[in-house]
Structures are given as structure tokens and as C-alpha cells.
């Protein structure tokens, strides 16, 4: 079978097999930190309001943050123990965010609310969606968009495809890969639950062909469910980008400025599906997730870590840094967020942490655009990054609008290929802000 794909894109680190061999064979291991720092904002949307106080004893799975609106997701205790602080703490976004700090008693005592909610056959689509909402499930591919909002399909909208994203196109990261290998049954069950919740007649799980073992495991796991299949995708970045994935799997395109539902599609991450299975069959809210810690650490690893685990604790569990640290990235090297302070906690959206030493990360100096057209060739959206770059640097709103900066998906392919080392994607992100500001006037 020919691997499905989209137009454009890049293949970073292909000589190093996308940097994945570092951690791809490291089985998921449970990690239990001494303290967790649980930020009240772990998702796109309104932050939660803490509903516990200093001194309270909390149990695993207990609600500790109430959602601040519809586009929000409740937050639960990821360990059992004592609340030792409710205060602003450093967050991956670079600011201090109100967080609940829990001293882990190591007992993992379950909250009474953690009870099986039903089965695939016994629950209606609306009941499944309600469980997803109450379990605080968000998209686990990185964007952390509340899942219940994504599945709140309007009556006039039809879902033709549910697509599960197992592409894991980000170099280095292997958490989804390990999940698909070790928890294929949970993912398959979650896929069936999400398929029922969405009303989609088919569910397709897209996996890049650099993970043949995951393709095999998932193909086997979905055999017993009707209408669920695995699609083999070409190993290319950003194959797991929502819009690129839809194009590769269905041949459809999401209309400009629209959401996937406008193309009759809903896309969720494979780890999200596993979380849904846990929420339904165990009643366990989203409090733990697979996190790859890789790059320049002594022992690159894949953990199942409670949300709120400090990066520094994970680095220690990996045997510490290898070489002199230059950059710590929440996520992978293409779209991850560089962090200023390693003393921050993981969140529901943290699929991995990549550490770069001075060997892997060397700052570059921008030079003149030579019009080589590489950015145009690789842009998966069909934009002209070199023009948007010039327009953004001059705050030229007309050109930014005409050349459609807003359609940029921030994948970073243009910056990656630029031989003049120009910060193309970065400047287009700036251009989007300029456009948003201009639209408000």
C-alpha cells in the first residue's frame, strides 16, 4: 500500500531517523514524583478555579479545579496527598499561573468518584461526551483544546470521518509511539467510544510508516471493532498537522479559516483516545500521560507521569543532562516551546521534553533572502513565506492580509529549510498578531 501524504513539508533529521531511536525502544515507565505542581490552566480556554485549600488532603482523581467556562476543562488531583500551596508558579507559557501544589503520599489512594461509568454498548453518545467533559480530557497532541468542545457538533453538521492522529511527525518524540505499542487495546477502545460520540461512520487511525510496529499493533487492536481502520502515512513533517492529516487521509481540505468539522472531520490524538477509554471504563479523569524526555539526557525515556510533574524531576529520573544544556523544549524541536526555567510542571498537553546541549543547538545569524524558493516549496499551506517575512518585518498589514498570513499553521518548515537562516515562521507568527491587532481597530 502506498503511504498517504500531503503536498509540501520537510523531513528533518532523516539521517538520524528523525531523532527517534534515542527513546523509541524505552518502554513506558511509571513515575511518581515527591511533589506535583498542578497549574489551573492546562488547556486552551478559560483557566480553572481551584476548589481545594492549603492543608486539605486530596485523593487521586479528585476534582481540584473547576472549569472557568464552556471552553475549559476541569482539573483533577494527579496523586493523593496534602495540598501544601495554592499560589502562582512558573508555567510553560513563561508566566506564573495559579497552581495547586500537592505533596505526594505515594499511596495513589483513589477518590470515591473514580468508578466505571459504563461500557461502549451501554452509553449513548451524549453520555460519552459528558464523561469526557467531566474527566477534563483535552487534546493530548500538544494544543490541549478541550475535547468535549471539539465533539460538540451542531445538529446541521455531519461528521463523515473521525481521524485519530498517530502520526507523531515531530522529530524526537516517541510517547504516542509507545502508547500505540503498549496500550493499543485502550486506544482502540477509545477510538470506538469517540466514534460513537462523534457519530462518524468510520474512524481512521493515521500512523507514519517509520513506526511499522505501531501500525501492526494498532491494526490488530482495531480488528474487533467495525468501521475502524489504520492508514499508513508517509514519514514527513507536518504529517500530523490536523489539516495535512485530513488531506492525506480523506483527500478533503478544510476551508480557509474553518475548523476540521467544516470538512466533515474530527481529529483527535491517539493518546486522547486512550484517556477516553480510561475515563469511561475506570472513571479515571485525565491526570497522567505519556511524556517522552529525550535529547541530551543520560538516559532518554518515556514516562507515564502525573500531570504537574516538574521537568527537573524527570531530568533526574533520566540520569541528568548529557553535556552542557543550551535549550529545553516543551514538545519537539519543530513546534515545541523553549522554556526559560526548567522548574516548571508538565501539563495535559506535554507529550515530550527535548533537551538540546550546546552540540545540538547553535544559534544562527540571519542573512539576506536569496529567493531560492525553498520556503515556497515546503509550505504545506501554499503560502509564500519570504513575502510574509518581509511584510511582517515592515508591519505591512495589506500584504499580510493579501498573502494570507492567517492561514499559516506555524509548522516551521520554512524556517527549517531557509539557507539564509531567516526566522520566517517566527516573523509570520508576529504578522498574525499584527493582523489581529489591525482587525480590532
Amino acid at each position: 500500500m502506498k503511504a498517504l501524504t500531503f503536498k509540501g513539508g520537510v523531513h528533518p533529521l532523516h539521517r538520524q531517523h528523525e531523532g527517534k531511536p534515542l527513546s523509541k525502544d524505552a518502554a513506558l515507565r511509571e513515575f511518581s514524583p515527591a511533589v506535583v505542581v498542578i497549574p489551573m490552566s492546562q488547556h486552551i480556554g478559560a483557566p480553572c478555579k481551584p476548589c481545594v485549600s492549603v492543608g486539605d488532603r486530596v485523593l487521586l482523581g479528585q476534582l481540584i479545579g473547576e472549569p472557568g467556562g464552556f471552553v475549559s476543562a476541569p482539573i483533577h488531583a494527579s496523586v493523593s496527598g496534602k495540598v501544601i500551596a495554592v499560589e502562582p508558579r512558573p508555567h510553560v507559557n513563561g508566566t506564573n499561573v495559579l497552581s495547586v501544589v500537592i505533596e505526594n503520599d505515594g499511596k495513589d489512594e483513589l477518590d470515591p468518584s473514580v468508578q466505571p461509568k459504563g461500557t461502549l454498548d451501554s452509553l449513548s453518545p451524549d453520555e460519552i461526551k459528558k464523561i469526557i467533559l467531566e474527566a477534563g480530557i483535552v487534546g493530548m497532541g500538544g494544543a490541549a483544546f478541550p475535547t468535549h468542545v471539539k465533539y460538540a457538533v451542531k445538529p446541521d453538521q455531519k461528521v463523515d470521518y473521525l481521524i485519530l492522529n498517530g502520526a507523531e511527525c515531530e522529530p524526537y518524540l516517541t510517547s504516542d509511539h509507545r502508547m500505540m505499542l503498549e496500550h493499543s487495546d485502550r486506544i482502540a477502545l477509545g477510538a470506538a467510544l469517540l466514534k460513537k460520540a462523534s457519530g462518524a461512520p468510520v474512524c481512521i487511525i493515521g500512523i507514519e510508516n517509520n513506526k511499522p510496529d505501531a501500525i501492526e499493533a494498532m491494526t490488530k487492536a482495531v480488528e474487533k471493532y467495525e468501521g475502524i481502520s489504520v492508514a499508513v502515512l508517509k514519514t514527513k513533517y507536518p504529517q500530523g498537522g490536523e489539516k495535512q492529516l485530513i488531506k492525506a487521509v480523506t483527500g478533503r481540505e478544510v476551508p480557509r479559516g474553518g475548523l476540521p468539522i467544516a470538512a466533515g472531520c474530527i481529529v483527535s490524538n491517539v493518546s486522547t483516545a486512550a484517556a477516553v477509554a480510561d475515563a469511561v471504563y475506570k472513571g479515571m479523569p485525565l491526570v497522567r500521560r505519556a511524556v517522552t524526555v529525550t535529547g541530551s539526557v543520560k538516559q532518554p525515556s518515556n514516562f507515564i507521569a502525573p500531570c504537574g510533574t516538574l521537568y527537573t524531576d524527570l531530568f533526574e529520573a533520566c540520569g541528568g543532562y548529557e553535556g552542557e544544556v543550551a535549550k529545553i523544549i516543551s514538545g519537539g524541536p519543530m513546534m515545541g516551546l523553549a522554556v526559560a526555567d526548567p522548574g516548571i510542571p508538565t501539563t495535559k498537553g506535554t507529550s515530550g521534553i527535548t533537551v538540546f546541549s550546546t552540540k545540538e543547538y547553535k544559534p544562527v545569524v540571519e542573512s539576506n533572502c536569496i529567493r531560492c524558493a525553498r520556503c515556497v516549496d515546503v509550505c504545506p499551506v501554499g503560502l509564500e513565506p519570504y513575502i510574509l517575512n518581509a511584510a511582517a518585518l515592515r508591519s505591512n498589514v495589506d500584504v499580510l492580509r493579501e498573502k494570507d498570513a492567517m492561514s499559516c499553521i506555524n509548522c516551521g518548515c520554512c524556517t527549517y529549510v531557509c539557507p539564509a537562516k531567516r526566522d520566517l515562521a517566527q516573523s509570520i507568527a508576529l504578522g498574525k498578531k499584527i493582523l489581529a491587532k489591525a482587525a480590532k481597530k
Binding site: C372, T415, P419, Q426
Partner: protein, 315 residues
């Protein structure tokens, strides 16, 4: 943590390709044809090449110093321009003519328009045009071993029999500019650039293909031997140098594959028209210059399609 971490927006990794690396590849690809030029025309060719490169690099250095800009001669782009200019003059050109050409290419055509990437036309070709029009006598006369010789294309134009055999033209044993004579080594260099993905196939294939088709039809219509006529046009002038190394100049050719095809076809038609009906026996450089001017228009007409445009919504 006693040392501060680097913090910047994503992406955090970069492809190993650099501007200097690309220009270096162009220099490597041009090397064999230059060696052939020195072999066929003697050491004077080497002198002119050295003057061309050195004066281009020096001109760029002084220009950037004078403007208090960062000096970027290390990116090798000025060296490429100087080399191409030297390849585009006959061996009997004066060294100071080559120097004037290089300085004109760098100062007027490149730096005054904003430097690397901002020139509107190919600097080496614009400089060659200036030399050709300023010293029409000496620059358009081709000598081998001190004896004036006619290029295959000029003999073709005046209806004389062509002295050089097709094999001579293929190898480079013919009258012409220093770097344009050895078709085989230019093709070799072009293939190197294609394999290294420095250039794309569209411009050279469309350009050479169009000249072949155009001159082929002309030969058929006028009752000439088609294969000899076409091959003389392909191998006997500056087409290979132009198609692989000049028309593919990043700054002055279109961005998209379709745009590059249009550009290549345009170059091919203009070259053929100038050669068959124009005043000059050779038309490669002027046709590329003219198409350079059309590049912004072609870019505008061949913008890539944006994902999701003209797609209907589900609801």
C-alpha cells in the same frame, strides 16, 4: 541552573544547507568548464578568471565597508558573479574590461539594488551586456591562439559552413567565450547542481527544450538538416552556460515550478528568435535579461494555491 537557557520561538532545528554552501556548490559545478576554457584558450583565460573573481569580491567588500553594512563576501555570491562574468567574455578581452564588468555587476546591478537577493537582473549578464555595447569590437571578436575565429553560431547566421564539428562543440574545441565552449562539462556541472538540489529541473529543461523544438521547426521549414542545425544551436553557443547557471539564478528567476517552466520557455523562444532573426548571432544573455524583467509578473501569475481556498464548507 547557573547558566541561562536559550529561549526562542520554534522551530529549534535548522537544515544544514547555507547560502555559502549553495554558492560553493555553484562554484564547484562551474569549475570543470573553466578548466576546459583554460585548456583550450591558454593561461590568459586563467588570468581573466582571476581578475573577474578578485575584482567582484573586492568591489563587494569595499561597497559594504563604505555603506557600513556587514561584510558578506564570505557567502561566495560575489565570487560566483565574478566567475560567471569572466566565463562570458572571450579570451582576447582586456583584463581591465573584465574588471570594469565585475565592478559594474557588483556595485550597480547588485549592491545599489539592495545586495544579495534584491538584484532585478542577473549581475553577470547585465555587466556582459555593458561590455558588449561599450567595446563592441573587442568583446565580440573571438580569437584562438591570436587568430580571429568565427563562432559556430555566427557562421550559421551568415550562412557559412561551420568549421567546428559537433563533437568539437560538445567538448569545447571551438571559438566562444571562456566558460561557454565546453557543453559536456557544463552539462556535467548542471547535473551536479540538480543532484545536489541546488537548482530545479524546470528552467534548464524548459529552456533547452524550447530552443531545440524552435530551431528544429525552423530547420524543417527551411529545408536544413534538422539534427545538425538543432545540435549546433544547443552546443555551439552560450545556451548550456545560460540554461544551467545564469537563468537559474535564484534572485532573478520565478519561485514556483510552473513559473520556472514559463520562464524557461520564454528564454528559449527569445534566444531562438534573436539567433534566427535578430541582429546578433547569439541571444542567450539578452533573452535571460529580458525574462529576468518578467519574473515579478510571472511570480504574480503563478502563486501557489493556498490550502483550503475555494473549498465548500460542510455546514
Amino acid at each position: 541552573m547557573d547558566k541561562l537557557l536559550h529561549v526562542s520561538a520554534s522551530p529549534h532545528i535548522r537544515d544544514a544547507r547555507t547560502t555559502t554552501g549553495l554558492m560553493g556548490d555553484v562554484l564547484i559545478a562551474l569549475l570543470p568548464a573553466g578548466i576546459a576554457g583554460v585548456y583550450f584558450f591558454g593561461l590568459r583565460a586563467l588570468l581573466l578568471i582571476a581578475v573577474g573573481v578578485a575584482s567582484a569580491v573586492l568591489a563587494e567588500f569595499l561597497c559594504q565597508k563604505a555603506a557600513r553594512h556587514t561584510v558578506t563576501v564570505g557567502d561566495l555570491s560575489a565570487a560566483v558573479t565574478g566567475l560567471l562574468l569572466a566565463y562570458n567574455v572571450p579570451v582576447n578581452a582586456e583584463w581591465w574590461q573584465v574588471m570594469i564588468g565585475s565592478v559594474f555587476a557588483i556595485v550597480i546591478v547588485k549592491q545599489l539594488f539592495g545586495g544579495l537577493g534584491f538584484n532585478v537582473v542577473n549581475p553577470a549578464l547585465a555587466a556582459r551586456a555593458v561590455l558588449q555595447n561599450s567595446w563592441a569590437g573587442s568583446i565580440s571578436i573571438f580569437k584562438i591562439d591570436g587568430v580571429t575565429a568565427a563562432t559556430p553560431l555566427s557562421q550559421l547566421k551568415s550562412g557559412q559552413p561551420v568549421d567546428a564539428s559537433l563533437l568539437d562543440m560538445f567538448l569545447g574545441k571551438t571559438a566562444g567565450c571562456i566558460g561557454e565552449v565546453s557543453a559536456v562539462l557544463l552539462i556535467l556541472g548542471g547535473v551536479y547542481l540538480l543532484c545536489r538540489r541546488v537548482i530545479k529541473w524546470q528552467v534548464p529543461v524548459a529552456y533547452i527544450g524550447t530552443v531545440a523544438v524552435f530551431t528544429g521547426i525552423y530547420a524543417a521549414a527551411t529545408g536544413k538538416s534538422i539534427d545538425t542545425f538543432v545540435l549546433t544551436h544547443l552546443l555551439g553557443g552560450g545556451l548550456m552556460l545560460g540554461a544551467f547557471f545564469m537563468a537559474t539564478d535564484y534572485a532573478t528567476c520565478p519561485m514556483t515550478g510552473l513559473g520556472q517552466l514559463i520562464f524557461g520557455v520564454g528564454c528559449g523562444i527569445l534566444t531562438s528568435v534573436i539567433r534566427l532573426w535578430g541582429g546578433y548571432p547569439e541571444g542567450a544573455s539578452y533573452s535571460i535579461l529580458l525574462m529576468n524583467l518578467a519574473t515579478p509578473l510571472i511570480d504574480k501569475a503563478t502563486r501557489p494555491r493556498i490550502y483550503g481556498s475555494e473549498v465548500k464548507s460542510n455546514a
